[in-house]
């Protein structure tokens, strides 16, 4: 089973939802359930429809595994809550296909909330 390692960073107040920690590293299986179900262990995927790990799956993973409180402040439907900026390797995710971007080993994904006081 191959895995990918990711660096995740939260800013703009979003870190408060994630144990008040800005930087996280995590390892994902490179194949994930097509329906973004995060409850299925990577070694239990036989017979489950899969897709390459993408940013959309990462959002579900962060919400279900890493987030500590108020999930509605992070996600809405299948994407981030409007007002949260996402950068993939220092590039606006809107230029990288947003949720459909297929994650590569050592990618750095940054989430910044614009919703907190100016």
């Amino acid at each position: 089973m191959s895995t990918i390692s990711l660096r995740i960073e939260f800013g703009g107040g979003l870190e408060l939802l994630f144990s008040n920690k800005r930087q996280h590293t995590l390892t994902l299986s490179s194949a994930v359930p097509f329906d973004n179900n995060t409850k299925i262990a990577p070694d239990m995927l036989s017979g489950v429809e899969t897709k390459p790990a993408d940013v959309e799956y990462l959002l579900f993973y962060l919400r279900d595994i890493l987030l500590q409180e108020r999930p509605e402040l992070f996600m809405e439907d299948k994407t981030v809550r409007p007002g949260i900026l996402v950068l993939i390797n220092n590039t606006d995710w809107e230029l990288e296909g947003e949720g459909e971007y297929v994650l590569q080993n050592n990618d750095e994904i940054v989430f910044i909330s614009t919703l907190h006081g100016g």
């Binding site: 409007p82 590039t91 606006d92 230029l95 909330s113 614009t114 919703l115 907190h116 100016g118």
Partner: protein, 354 residues
């Protein structure tokens, strides 16, 4: 996915999709267009004159931090000839404002600008912590908003500045347009999109980021690695604004130009003369000399309510009548020092940056 090339220089890798135009641009072109658009806003509206003393209302948050950085850069690049200051208001909110003021103090060093901090405690004799302990979390934003507005003007008078600039961005202004429409507040709807506002004798206020999208301000801070503070105020947020904000962000997700479109709508509204005529005439507060549309300004009214243990008298007419029925205020009532705008010389020693 192959990386995209910048639509402006056609050389470097694009890193940002501009919400205003949909253009894909590289890092250096982004810095250039962001700064140049602010410069264009400043020159097209004749915002400043050479030699102006300008205070940047600095909270330590993203908008005012980027504003301080960009104004300093433009002042040098285009030789505006401005004297820039940082002005911060300490509302006295433990665990919130004390932390963000630390950021402002670092900005003072980083940007080499003099800093003045004026506290509610000093000016009104009350911190927000103490106000909330008396009145609870409901309505405390009313106190904070009224007190902050006057404190900024008074801090600016102490610095002897001509002009206060604030970090209000396009998203903030679009939000305010929506709120004023929903509340039917015609007077505010008329003036909330103006880039400059000025009362009778108060200091000029302006919003150089009027057309700057929040997304770009945050991206700018991120790529420039600017030091800013972000956390929610620990007291109850302005719920009405929160709804307008969520609505606006949803609109923006569907159509990014929505923000600038709403601002243009706000600018295009015209108030009929007969509506204007019913609006109150500005006068000065009989107690503290600040501009007011009644005998007493809002801050004096709120302060009197706090001092007499009837804080809601500044919020509702009914409670105000109850307060008036108790008779005139006692002679030893704490009041706000009399307002003396633009005296000629700075009335305080400002903390020099080193």
């Amino acid at each position: 996915m192959p990386s995209k090339v910048c639509a402006l220089c056609e050389k470097s890798k694009a890193i940002l999709k501009r919400p205003k135009t949909g253009q894909q641009i590289c890092r250096d072109c982004f810095f250039y267009v962001f700064e140049t658009e602010v410069h264009n806003t400043i020159t097209q509206t004749n915002l400043f004159s050479r030699g102006d003393r300008v205070a940047i209302g600095a909270s330590g948050g993203k908008d005012s931090t980027v504003l301080a950085y960009v104004l300093k850069a433009l002042n040098e690049r285009y030789d505006y000839g401005l004297h820039l200051f940082l002005l911060s208001i300490d509302e006295g909110i433990t665990g919130y404002r004390d932390d963000s003021l630390e950021t402002v103090k670092r900005n003072q060093q980083q940007y080499d600008m003099p800093l003045k901090i004026l506290s509610y405690d000093e000016l009104y004799g009350w911190t927000m912590d103490r106000i909330v302990s008396q009145i609870g979390k409901k309505n405390n934003c009313t106190f904070c908003g009224v007190f902050r507005r006057q404190a900024l003007d008074r801090g600016a008078a102490m610095l002897n500045v001509d002009h206060i600039v604030t970090g209000h961005n396009a998203d903030d202004i679009a939000e305010t347009v929506l709120m004023n429409i929903m509340r039917g507040d015609i007077a505010r709807l008329g003036r909330c999109t103006s880039i400059v506002t000025q009362g009778e004798d108060t200091i000029k206020r302006s919003k150089p980021f009027k057309y700057a999208y929040e997304k770009e301000i945050v991206m700018y801070a991120y790529f420039k690695k600017l030091d800013y503070f972000s956390t929610e105020c620990i007291y109850s947020p302005d719920a009405y604004r929160g709804h307008a904000r969520t609505f606006l962000k949803d609109l923006e997700a569907a159509r990014p130009s929505a923000i600038i479109d709403i601002i243009h709508s706000g600018e295009a509204f015209e108030i009929r003369e007969e509506i204007k005529a019913t609006q109150k005439v500005q006068q000065t507060c009989k107690r503290c000399g600040y501009m007011s549309s009644n005998d007493l300004c809002k801050a004096c009214t709120l302060l009197e309510g706090l001092e007499r243990g009837m804080a809601s008298s500044g919020i509702t007419d009914r409670a105000r009548k109850r307060l008036d029925a108790e008779g005139p205020p006692p002679g030893n009532l704490r009041t706000i020092p009399f307002f003396q705008p633009l005296s000629g010389n700075p009335t305080v020693i400002i903390e020099a940056s080193t």
